[in-house]
Point group: C2
Chain length 199, copies 2
Amino acid sequence: MSKFIPAIGRLIDEFARLPGVGKKSAQRLAFYIVNMEQSQAVAFAEAILDVKRKVRYCDRCFNITDQDICEICQDVKRDQQIICVVETPRDVIAIENTKEYHGYYHVLHGAISPMEGIGPNDVKIRELIIRLQGDETKELIIATNPTIEGEATAMYISKLLKGTDIKVTRLAHGIPVGGDLEYADEITLAKAIEGRRLL
Amino acid sequence: MSKFIPAIGRLIDEFARLPGVGKKSAQRLAFYIVNMEQSQAVAFAEAILDVKRKVRYCDRCFNITDQDICEICQDVKRDQQIICVVETPRDVIAIENTKEYHGYYHVLHGAISPMEGIGPNDVKIRELIIRLQGDETKELIIATNPTIEGEATAMYISKLLKGTDIKVTRLAHGIPVGGDLEYADEITLAKAIEGRRLL
């Protein structure tokens, strides 16, 4: 017999397309759906379609939202003078979870990567610059990832803003809290030494 | 702001319900869907619904199929005298992949587990006994899992068939091929010694 009946084969393929889902996991997930209650499977499929129907990008900061302007941008109690620039909406959530940041965000939806052919115009950098012209931003925290692409993006934005009054900052590098010195990579350790602070 | 917009929160919950998908993975998957092409998301949702619409159990062996009788049961070239009893349809695929077995199957859809309140009537044991009455089966290979539940199920079926002409066998235990003696658990190693064969 053919290894899987077509409907299951297709579902396995769909699951295997998801990030971090290998072939074996995709099979396990597809068979789980087979054994699911009909109503649960419908709820799952609906949730997928619903996300595509309702979720869009905020007109201002490009975070995801189900409105024109996201809840963060709508919150007038936030610090109007700071914008934190991140690569993805998930980074917004990570920073919000710290409860330490009270400014606004700007989501680039990627980072500059010449290797992958992603230039400045393929991420929301132009939109950031336009946005900065109208408002009272004093500081831009560039919280792109500490990767080659993230660093290149940070450098690019910082150059664009040279000569303006906007202070451009970058998240600190260092040993993760609760981490072990022994297991830190050399570059992180070097950055931690370089950025050492007085006790 | 609430941590996730409702549509995404619901999709994260749906993903987190799947086996082996933790909260972080569920978030990653949900955001992947957000960024998916509309048509891809629709294809994914359709694949889920399609599986529920088309997949059913074979009337004879209870393997999954999109017909009344599954392809394996329809294959008259198979050995009519052997039935391999497994817990799940995925076990059928695993055994088919060996290309070493050419008899039929019977899928129990579970194993007897007093701890979880699963008795003989909650799995397809009665259907197996009824099926055996009409046909020419000579051997029943009980390939339930080597767990307490799988062993209990094997013992139960073997007792039911005591006194009949049907030979009841069980898969061999031993060291996995390519495995390392040192890392085999004691019970497996004991079974491997007990089942040793002449070279």
